[in-house]
């Protein structure tokens, strides 16, 4: 049987910490724990509570996006705007973490029985099939950013599923690291588009677009190296 601990304990800890201070690392780890628990629910065949976890990730993600961009972007005026935007988003996150929905979600997760290992193994092959389908879709249109993000999500769910079952996932991490760089650039582009003085950073925007395309292609290459391993899981 697969118990939801220790990731549930981790999520509870991060919720408490982020509620107090919202340090970037805690916000990040809150989202990681939430994703891992969503993968655990998938292995258990449960649909419910995944929407609540997604909601939590979305609210925390609004803060995390800014943290990622602040780490790499140096323009002082844009950074000032980002920090001010973070304060607003943090307030929304703070309220979400104090809400009954979060309390109910944590209680519901704590109360669920463990997942049967044989059923989890069966469902893993479904997750592998979804990753392969997303990979095929991207290979058919390598310049489509949405298909790239979809593959990244499916591979991550599969990796977490494997890790719940105690499998090694080194090759998956490599793909995730490479594709993560592309995702970071996409985040910078999204926040730049929302920046009122975006016209002043036209050169940086062009650079980011070029880097995003380059790193997407590197991600696709990393996927090609991983694809056969995923096929074996079907």
């Amino acid at each position: 049987m697969i118990e939801s601990t220790p990731w549930l304990t981790d999520l509870e800890t991060r919720v408490a910490r982020v509620h107090e201070r919202a340090e970037p690392e805690d916000v990040h780890q809150l989202r990681v724990a939430s994703r891992r628990l969503a993968a655990w629910l998938r292995l258990g065949g449960l649909h419910v509570l995944r929407d609540d976890l997604r909601w939590l990730r979305r609210v925390a993600g609004a803060v995390r996006d800014i943290d990622v961009v602040l780490e790499v972007e140096g323009d002082p005026t844009w950074s000032r705007w980002l920090r001010s935007e973070r304060r607003v988003r943090h307030q929304t996150l703070h309220e979400a973490l104090a809400s009954e929905r979060t309390a109910g979600l944590l209680l519901a997760l704590r109360s669920l029985p463990p997942v049967a290992r044989d059923k989890a193994t069966e469902r893993l092959s479904v997750l592998a099939g979804k990753a392969l389908a997303a990979g095929d879709a991207l290979e058919g249109a390598p310049d489509d950013p949405e298909r790239f993000h979809a593959l990244r999500r499916k591979v991550r769910v599969l990796r977490y599923g494997l890790e719940w079952l105690g499998e090694k996932t080194g090759a998956f991490r490599e793909f995730q690291e490479v594709s993560g760089l592309a995702a970071d650039r996409a985040m910078s582009l999204r926040l730049l588009a929302a920046y009122p003085q975006v016209d002043e950073l036209a050169a940086r925007k062009s650079e980011l677009e070029a880097e995003f395309a380059q790193q997407r292609h590197a991600g696709l290459a990393a996927w090609t190296g991983l694809r056969d391993r995923v096929r074996e899981m079907r």
Binding site: L46, H47, V48, L49, D51, D52, W55, E100, R101, A103, G104, L105, L107, A108, S111, L112, P113
Partner: protein, 158 residues
Amino acid sequence: MELFLVRHAIAVPSADELPDAERPLTDQGRKRFAREVRGLDRLGIRLDRVLHSPWTRAVQTADLLHAILEGESAVEAGLAREPDGELVARLGAAGARVAAVGHEPWMSELLAVLVTGNKTHAGRLSFKKGQVAWLTGDAKPRGMEMIASLPPRVLRRL
């Protein structure tokens, strides 16, 4: 709006070693409620939101409703205690076709409030495990009327 009040399906009995919030559905409860959901499906019922109590038997019942859910589910802690005005307001804001999965005696109380305006007669309302009360109107005290009370056996025969 259309509101479907659902009492959770048959769960394992209370036991000292098992906290009430953690009681799961029995295999029979799960199978029977899955058949009830097929009955709801045959009635053409589709949901755009499922709200459920955080207790395991309600979580697992709500999960079976996923077959007719076209939107999202959300945990609603207010369904695991005596209903109040805030819960009623949240139900009203949840969507156009909403299911709320909870427990007795609170489901009967919620039904009584929505239909009659108070909880006085809640004790006279029967709400079996897996039963569905189909309401329409505005989610506010005395703002709704009951279209149908669908007992589990009837739903399974549809």
